[in-house]
């Protein structure tokens, strides 16, 4: 059955997205910054990065836990956490931030400022159709029928605007930040948490859970004694999230854990799990294939919430790049191999064989 198209911008040519919008009934909760998912009707919240929302199936479902495996120097996972919190501030959600290493106030002060005008959103629809122009050097002379076909879309974007864009070089205005209610928990000081009565989404950010500063020895020993405590905590946290209107984002320094089974358990205990691998400091930095990107993104797990299957991105090779105004996640595609030696080798081997003129070393034994 054809899905009705309801006049949204840039309809069907980008990826597998649909511009289908479910008819909303009044009994759905209408909280600012959320929207229902088209796949399974769950209430979704943006993670702050629109390409990440696309990869994990539209956004983060309220009541779930997003696990981010940190990159080696914790630069990009920290950036993702800041995007998550900044999105909460802009949408008016309540925030809770717990951190052991840096003071939560320091992290809150570094939140990127939102871009107010629609610059980044318009670019997606602009790149689509360009009228053919004789003065335009891109006009094709012989293959002009392909003029208006879109080029390979490497950037992942959905047709519906959900979420905001942020400018990384500027920090958020203090007035905007203070407008959001934020609770924090710092390992060295404990402050009591105050509950409120207004129905709103609570965003929890836990930075570097499982690292040594939280008191866990998961990162330094092969048989950690605190593994059970960590997994119990995640289990109970997920139970608490399910019964409330909250979303949690937890970053874990997985490159430090010595026991792979521990990471496997932690991934199973969370709903959505992604891993960031940054090229800095590894030999992949000099690989010409990766020169445009800052790292690879691996999707480890996607949740199946109230449905039988989940929306999987069509490719598993995803790479990310942090630009000033956008954190983009793109499909990693190989350019065509134009070198001369590609297909020569196989032909010569096929030619030698049962020919009567074949002499020398190649004798066939029967």
């Amino acid at each position: 059955m054809a899905a009705p198209v309801r006049g949204m911008i840039g309809s069907t040519s980008i990826g597998n997205t649909t511009s289908f919008q479910k008819k909303t009934r009044s009994k759905l909760v209408s909280i600012p910054g959320t929207r229902p998912s088209v796949q399974n009707g769950q209430l979704l919240v943006s993670s702050g990065v629109s390409s990440l929302d696309y990869v994990i199936g539209g956004g983060l479902a309220v009541g779930t836990l997003l696990l981010v495996e940190e990159d080696r120097y914790d630069s990009y996972s920290r950036m993702l956490l800041k995007y998550f919190l900044a999105e909460g501030v802009v949408c008016g959600h309540e925030l809770f931030l717990a951190s052991a290493r840096d003071h939560p106030d320091d992290i809150m002060q570094e939140l990127p400022s939102p871009i107010v005008d629609d610059v980044a959103g318009m670019k997606i629809s602009e790149g689509q159709s360009q009228p053919s122009d004789p003065e335009n050097p891109d006009t094709m002379k012989i293959a002009w029928r392909y003029q208006n076909q879109p080029k390979v879309q490497t950037a992942l974007a959905s047709s519906v605007r959900f979420g905001h864009y942020y400018d990384v070089s500027k920090t958020m205005e203090p007035e905007l930040r203070q407008a959001a209610k934020c609770h924090s928990f710092y390992q060295l000081q404990e402050t009591p948490v105050v509950t409120s009565k207004v129905r709103n989404v609570l965003r929890l950010g836990l930075h570097s859970l499982g690292s040594v500063l939280w008191g866990d020895d998961v990162c330094c020993k092969d048989n950690p004694a605190h593994c059970h405590a960590l997994t119990t905590f995640l289990y109970i946290l997920r139970g608490l999230l399910r019964t409330s209107l909250s979303v949690a984002m937890v970053t874990v320094p997985s490159h430090l854990t010595q026991n792979r089974a521990v990471m496997g358990r932690i991934i199973r205990l969370s709903d959505t799990a992604i891993a960031l691998e940054s090229f800095k400091g590894s030999e992949k930095e000099t690989n010409p294939l990766y020169k445009d990107y800052h790292g690879l993104l691996h999707v480890r797990q996607l949740p199946r919430l109230n449905c039988l299957s989940c929306e999987v991105p069509d490719t598993k090779d995803l790479a990310f790049k942090l630009k000033r105004k956008q954190f983009t996640i793109e499909r990693l595609h190989l350019p065509p191999d134009l070198s001369e030696t590609v297909s020569r080798v196989s032909k010569t081997e096929l030619a030698a064989g049962c020919g009567s003129t074949a002499t020398g070393n190649k004798h066939l034994d029967f």
Binding site: D74, A100, L188, C219
Partner: protein, 294 residues
Amino acid sequence: MLLDVMQAGGGFILLEDSVQCSARGLLRCFIHAALKRGEDVHVLGFESPETQVCAGLDSSSVQRLHFHKGFPDPLGWTCRSSFTVERFTSQHITQLIKDTQHAQASVLVVDSLSMVLRHHDPVVFCQTLQELRNGGVIKTIIGLLHSDLHQQGIVGIVCHLAGTVISVAPADNERLSVAKTTRRTKSGKVMQEEEYFSVSEDAALSVQAKPRQPGHVQRERDVSEADPTSNLTFNLRLSEDERKAKEKVALPFVFSQQKKSALLRPTPGSGRIVYEPDANDDFDEEDPDDDLDV
């Protein structure tokens, strides 16, 4: 970058070495640089004697250097040392630093962290370092760690905690050693550099940039290909006149601009089939399956 780190200081600097190449000379350079900046340096010496550290310092610098003797008795078995390994806790160290008068920016140097890690739980050790860093009394912590004495996990967590990690390794040239510096700024930016360095008798550090490896140069040579139109028996190049004539050739299926843009406009119904029945065609409206007796 090594010289910048030495001059600037600040944060937790980790010097990582192994049995093949020792970083103690580099540690001495760091101490001397901090003293020259006018900072108070507290050295917890568990592995080297005071004379080795103080050699070559003038009297004003020696006043600002406070050496807490741990060597040769770091565990306090013969009660000859003023600071034992067990006393490595944040309260004791903060007290030690507050006891010195007119302390401005204090630098804590631990020689070495390996000795402390052998006798303390790694989790408690890291928490102690974090408390010292955030305490406000100490500006810089410089620690020496022997990476081959510990498990990889423990070395990993200490490196993760540090703001700057400098690993030394022997180089092919015997006089020089290689230092790989990784520096992490507060904003998350990471800078890395590899340099040759050597330390002289009077703790002067000389740094040389590492030359690019020959492997890199070879790869660049492969990338720039030879021009395929040269060295041929026939001519593949075009002169200017020939190029202009080539562009003037009228290609087949070249339409005028209006027809092109008309064809390029997206039509609503693509894929319509228009059929005009021929004279020989004969349309029978009956269904041929009606004859069947099934």
